[in-house]
């Protein structure tokens, strides 16, 4: 592990250790926060019991589908908007201010239209994630060297082949930033929607545990979400680093 990696690990260990000590020594009321070791213990017990397997599959499934739709559709929309400069000019102010508007305000409308099902949650997930992907696609395509477009013509490539075989890989470093953001936004949107109003899912289970003052269950699931989000992000970061190294791009 690199020196920076060790420092990072040390910061996490210190923070967790401090929280553990503060909880165990009674500086923090156990009705507010339980000790990290108690969270881990509760999580292990919960996972072994299999009580939340179905909820986990549902929530992570919705996140995966929402992110996949946002990434594919976002890339396609980015390609289309990039090819139509006037449309792009008209839409750019909306893209710039998109995340200033809380998309969650549309959640009740979607529940009213689609009912209390996975559809409104999926839509909120897609809507939260897709514009990050569109913006990343536009940024990436802006930076595809013009010489590659000429090369595509020399190789007699049509618009689709050029998009998939040249533009997509050439813009990949920027697209990957979009994918990472889409995963984060999708994650937040789905969990928050379930937390607000949903018949099932991890967000709903956390909300129920909160209402029931069931701190071990609530914190165990929060820890689970933290671990999953961190692992997914680290995996994406590792892939990003590997690709960047191949292309001679230095990333911090």
């Amino acid at each position: 592990m690199s020196r920076v990696g060790w420092i990072r690990l040390l910061v996490i260990v210190l923070a967790v250790g401090l929280l553990e000590a503060a909880c165990r020594l009674g500086f923090i009321d156990h009705r507010v926060i339980i000790a990290p070791s108690a969270m881990a213990d509760a999580l292990v017990r919960l996972l072994i019991s299999g009580q939340v397997n179905h909820q986990m599959a549902r929530t992570f499934g919705i996140i995966a589908i929402a992110v996949a739709i946002a990434v594919v559709l976002g890339f396609a929309l980015g390609l289309l908007v990039h090819a139509l400069p006037r449309v792009r000019q008209a839409l750019e102010p909306f893209f710039a201010t998109y995340y200033a508007v809380p998309i969650f305000i549309f959640y009740p409308i979607m529940v009213a239209i689609f009912g209390l099902s996975v559809v409104p949650i999926l839509l909120i997930g897609v809507l939260n994630a897709i514009v990050a992907m569109v913006i990343a696609t536009l940024n990436g395509l802006d930076r595809v060297p013009r010489v590659l477009m000429k090369t595509a013509r020399v190789h007699h490539m049509g618009p689709l082949a050029t998009a998939l075989r040249l533009k997509l890989p050439a813009a990949a470093p920027h697209l990957f930033t979009g994918v990472k953001l889409a995963v984060s936004y999708g994650f937040i949107a789905v969990i928050a929607s379930e937390f607000i109003l949903a018949p099932a899912g991890l967000g709903r289970v956390i909300s129920d545990a909160y209402s029931d003052f069931n701190n071990p269950r609530m914190y165990a699931l929060m820890l689970l979400l933290l671990i999953v989000a961190t692992v997914v992000n680290m995996a994406l970061h590792a892939v990003d680093q590997r690709w960047a190294e191949r292309r001679g791009i230095r990333k911090p």
Binding site: V147, K150, V154, H155, R247
Partner: protein
């Protein structure tokens, strides 16, 4: 100026070609090129030199079918070139056009795979070209791991593997130092002899054009036209050692006589040029 060549040996021809870039908001149209007449003889090495911005690259792109001429006609092997790169034409650009996400081997194989060439044939031709270009040991490397000169060799190899009959080189060594350019020039001469292709080389370096070319077209400042076409008379078997030949100095001197005033014009020194 039209190069007087027998009709049956003409490989590519530009007749009365001009290129005018349309005016955009607040800007007037730009007359970049022509009128130009040029007949490239099959198998010859033709160099084009001229001041910056004189339309050299425009000339190459019109000939390649990457840009349509505003007026005039372009033909390759007797067929009109109409806004598409004809089969049998390969282009190497000045900028690094290697694909950074592919290994050297996959970069070179790109065009063959696009053509649907079978795997065994792809392997044979790619390995052969990599060996010829001295890239065999770097087959699994990514372009980012190579020097600028080697990346340009990858681009040349990617063009060569498709066995083009007309190779258009747009200042392919422009970003390289003088010594590397000489050595790359040797490689280009080697591949030209081996392939038997017709080569059109755009360059800003008079010595490079003088060393590599059978004929050299000296272009005027914009709009680019041929002021002179110099025949070098070099033997086909030649390399960079001809830079020490007395005739080499004569050729570069004649080119510079043609271009000095035009270069001053292109830099805006109209008074000095007039004096």
């Amino acid at each position: 100026m039209t190069a007087p060549l027998p009709g049956d040996t003409v490989h590519a021809r530009l007749s009365g070609v001009t290129r005018v870039y349309p005016g955009t908001a607040g800007h007037r149209p730009v007359h970049a090129l022509g009128p130009i007449d040029l007949a490239l003889q099959r198998g010859e090495f033709f160099g084009v030199v001229g001041p910056s911005g004189c339309g050299k690259s425009t000339l190459l792109e019109v000939l390649a079918g990457l840009q349509p001429p505003t007026a005039g006609t372009v033909t390759f092997e007797g067929r009109a070139v109409a806004d598409a790169v004809p089969e049998g034409v390969g282009v190497v650009f000045q900028e690094d056009a290697s694909f950074p996400w592919l290994t050297v081997w996959d970069n070179v194989a790109f065009g063959l795979r696009r053509n649907g060439t079978d795997d065994a044939e792809v392997r044979r031709r790619v390995d052969d070209v990599l060996a010829f270009m001295g890239l065999k040991d770097f087959a699994r490397a990514y372009p980012a791991q190579l020097s600028g000169g080697m990346r340009q060799r990858v681009c040349i190899a990617r063009t060569l593997v498709l066995q083009p009959r007309l190779i258009l080189l747009d200042e392919p060594f422009g970003a390289l130092d003088a010594q590397t350019r000489l050595l790359m020039g040797d490689e280009v001469l080697r591949l030209w002899r081996r392939t038997g292709a017709t080569v059109l080389l755009i360059t800003h370096a008079l010595d490079e054009a003088a060393m590599l070319s059978d004929r050299i077209g000296a272009m005027s400042a914009r709009p680019g036209r041929f002021l002179d076409i110099v025949t070098t008379g070099w033997p086909r078997e030649r390399d960079s050692t001809i830079v020490s030949d007395a005739r080499f100095g004569e050729i570069t001197g004649r080119l510079w006589d043609n271009l000095r005033e035009e270069s001053l014009k292109s830099l805006g020194y109209t008074t000095m040029a007039a004096e």
